[in-house]
Every structure is written in structure tokens, then in C-alpha cells.
């Protein structure tokens, strides 16, 4: 792991966006995967398949990063008619680990950019 962050990374945060089928919308893919797990002998209840987007964003603060990623979700990453999204921020970037847990452990929700690297 790099001991000191490159200056260019100072304003970079890593966002993990989880996009899920909206509640109540038929999710045949989730049902098929659930049924397959049951065939393998796993006792599973409801199961849904969504999508994960990882994106490094340049931002001045966590709030700034979050509002930028929310804009991305509304405008492209998710279709609000059929999907919901959940944004998690962590310090570091995908190209410059660490994607370390935030001090204090879970959740990654309110990562402090000061602790990046």
C-alpha cells in the first residue's frame, strides 16, 4: 500500500453503488438464482439480483461526493422507475488501494476523506 497518497488523489473518493430491483417489481433473475441455490441444497428465502457500480469521484467532501454520485444514479446508473440505489463511500480509489474499512469499522457510509491512505 502506498504510504503517502499522490497529490492528485487528494480529492478522490471511492463510491460503491448498489442498484437493486425496486420492491414489488418481479425479479425473475432473482427467482431463478434462488431456485438454483435451493436445488444445490441451500435453504434460502427471498433473493434478488442487482448491479454493482464502482466509481472513483473527485470531490471536496463526503457530502459533495454523495451528491455527485446521486446525480449519476438519477441521470444514468439507475432507472428510478424500476430500480433503487444505495451509495457507499470509502477512502482511496480503485486504482490506488487501500479500499480500507473506515476507522471505526462498518459501515463505509460516512468515510472521512481525511483518512484516505
Amino acid at each position: 500500500l502506498p504510504q503517502s497518497a499522490p497529490a492528485a488523489d487528494a480529492g478522490l473518493l471511492h463510491a460503491t453503488v448498489l442498484i437493486r430491483p425496486k420492491e414489488g417489481i418481479l425479479d425473475p433473475q432473482g427467482q431463478a438464482v434462488r431456485d438454483s441455490l435451493r436445488k444445490l441444497g441451500f435453504a434460502v428465502g427471498e433473493l434478488h439480483v442487482g448491479r454493482l457500480v464502482e466509481v472513483d469521484v473527485e470531490a471536496e467532501s463526503n457530502e459533495d461526493a454523495r451528491s455527485r454520485v446521486e446525480d449519476m444514479c438519477r441521470q444514468l446508473l439507475a432507472n428510478p422507475l424500476i430500480e433503487t440505489y444505495d451509495i457507499r463511500l470509502s477512502p482511496g480509489t480503485s486504482t490506488h488501494p487501500p479500499r480500507a474499512p473506515v476507522p471505526g469499522g462498518q459501515p463505509l457510509e460516512d468515510a472521512d476523506p481525511e483518512h484516505a491512505h
Binding site: 417489481i25 418481479l26 425473475p28 433473475q29 431463478a32 444514468l76 446508473l77 432507472n79 422507475l81 424500476i82
Partner: protein, 233 residues
């Protein structure tokens, strides 16, 4: 030469030639337009967005095509009242671009469906279904994996009230789990329509059905009457 109908072609489109062939058979001057073009050809009187898998269906089917330069031109053409028909992937693109209500999800069966389906005409009006009458049954093939039309109950009710549902799958024929059997919808203004079935594959009875010609010929009629922007009587 007949009226000019533009067919935008995206990387991954694959029905543009059939659409052009069908429109030409119906007397139109169909012109393929590459997605990087910023303008539609001069005198374009209608636009047909073809089927296929634009941009590899990345993210969601149809989600990326709205960033193509040609889509800005299509959007402006539609805003001016020009007739725009989206077939299959074209329907998905129009929904993702916000030009049509609703969304298209993976088929409830999870299977790609490829077969003829019977469709009931709910709304017979220019520019898309003027050659039909309400209650007519058309037989037109579908071939898609993501054709399940979704709209929440409020939106469905509004679409029904405003007569924006143009075609429905006939009873027992719904191939993809679409809400309320919806196969085709128009925008509020009535000049933009999307449908999952492929009328361009059903213009020659030799190939099973000529019913698709009723839809495409309606578009050609409308284009010839000058529904196009700037060409209003």
C-alpha cells in the same frame, strides 16, 4: 422517390436493413443514419429507431443510446411533432431517453422469445395505426429478451385514460409478462410510439404475415402528409 424516413443506426443495431427494406417496399425513401451524425438528412419526414442491441445493451437495454449525437436530432424532431417509431430496442431507447413513459425489463420467463404474436389494436389513429381499426388483430413477430413493459398502477391508469396504449397482446399471447398486456405505447402528443413486436418482419405475406405493413404504411402515409416539423400545412 418517396418521403424520406431516417433510420438511425447504432453500434449493435441489427434490424435497420429489414426496416429500410420494408419502408422502401411501401414506397418510402429510407435512409440509414449513423449514430455519430448530429443532424437528420434534409427533408426527413419520419424517424424509425430499429431493433437490435445498441451499445451491447450495457447497463440497461437502450440506456446508452440517448448519448448518441443523432439522438439529440431525433429528440428535436420529436419535439417539433415529427413522427418517431421505435421498434424493440428502439422502444427501449425511447423509454430510457424519456421520450416514452415506462420501462422495459427482462422477460418474466427469462427466455428470449422469438415467435409470432397476435396484437389487438386499441387505438387506431395517425401516425401509426391509421390503417387499422380498433379491435383489429394483427399478427406480428416478437424477438426479444427484455420486453416486459413496466409502469406502476398510477402510470398505467393514466396511460389508459389518455389512450396512450396503442397495441395490446391478445388474451393468452403476452410473451414477456408486460403489465396490462401492453405491446405499444405513444407519448402524450401522440407522435412518438414504441412497440416490442417487429412490423418490419411482417410486410410480406410470403413470410407468414403482412400485418406489420399496416403500421409502417401508416407511418409512410403520415410522413407523406407532412406531419413533419416545418412541413405543417
Amino acid at each position: 422517390m418517396g418521403v424520406k424516413i431516417a433510420i438511425p443506426v447504432f453500434p449493435g443495431s441489427n434490424d435497420e436493413r429489414d426496416a429500410a427494406w420494408a419502408l422502401r417496399a411501401l414506397g418510402a425513401d429510407a435512409v440509414l443514419v449513423w449514430h455519430a451524425e448530429r443532424a437528420l438528412p434534409r427533408a426527413t419526414a419520419a424517424v424509425v429507431l430499429p431493433g437490435g442491441f445498441s451499445y451491447g445493451d450495457y447497463l440497461r437495454a437502450g440506456a446508452l443510446a440517448r448519448f448518441a449525437p443523432v439522438l439529440d436530432a431525433v429528440r428535436a424532431f420529436a419535439a417539433d411533432g415529427g413522427p418517431v417509431l421505435g421498434i424493440c430496442n428502439g422502444f427501449q431507447i425511447l423509454c430510457e431517453a424519456g421520450l416514452l413513459p415506462g420501462a422495459l425489463l427482462p422477460n418474466s420467463s427469462l427466455s428470449f422469445v422469438c415467435r409470432d404474436v397476435a396484437l389487438r389494436v386499441e387505438r387506431a389513429a395517425a401516425p401509426f395505426t391509421a390503417r387499422s381499426r380498433p379491435g383489429d388483430v394483427l399478427r406480428i413477430p416478437v424477438k426479444h429478451g427484455d420486453g416486459r413493459f413496466h409502469a406502476d398502477p398510477e402510470l398505467l391508469e393514466a396511460l389508459e385514460q389518455r389512450e396512450q396504449i396503442v397495441l395490446r397482446y391478445a388474451p393468452g399471447e403476452n410473451p414477456n409478462g408486460s403489465a396490462s398486456d401492453v405491446a405499444a405505447v405513444v407519448n402524450e402528443a401522440g407522435n412518438v410510439m414504441g412497440l416490442m413486436p417487429h412490423p418490419e418482419h411482417a410486410v410480406d405475406p410470403l413470410l407468414g404475415s403482412g400485418d406489420g405493413a399496416l403500421i409502417l404504411a401508416s407511418v409512410v402515409d403520415a410522413a407523406g402528409r407532412g406531419c413533419a416539423p416545418g412541413a405543417a400545412a
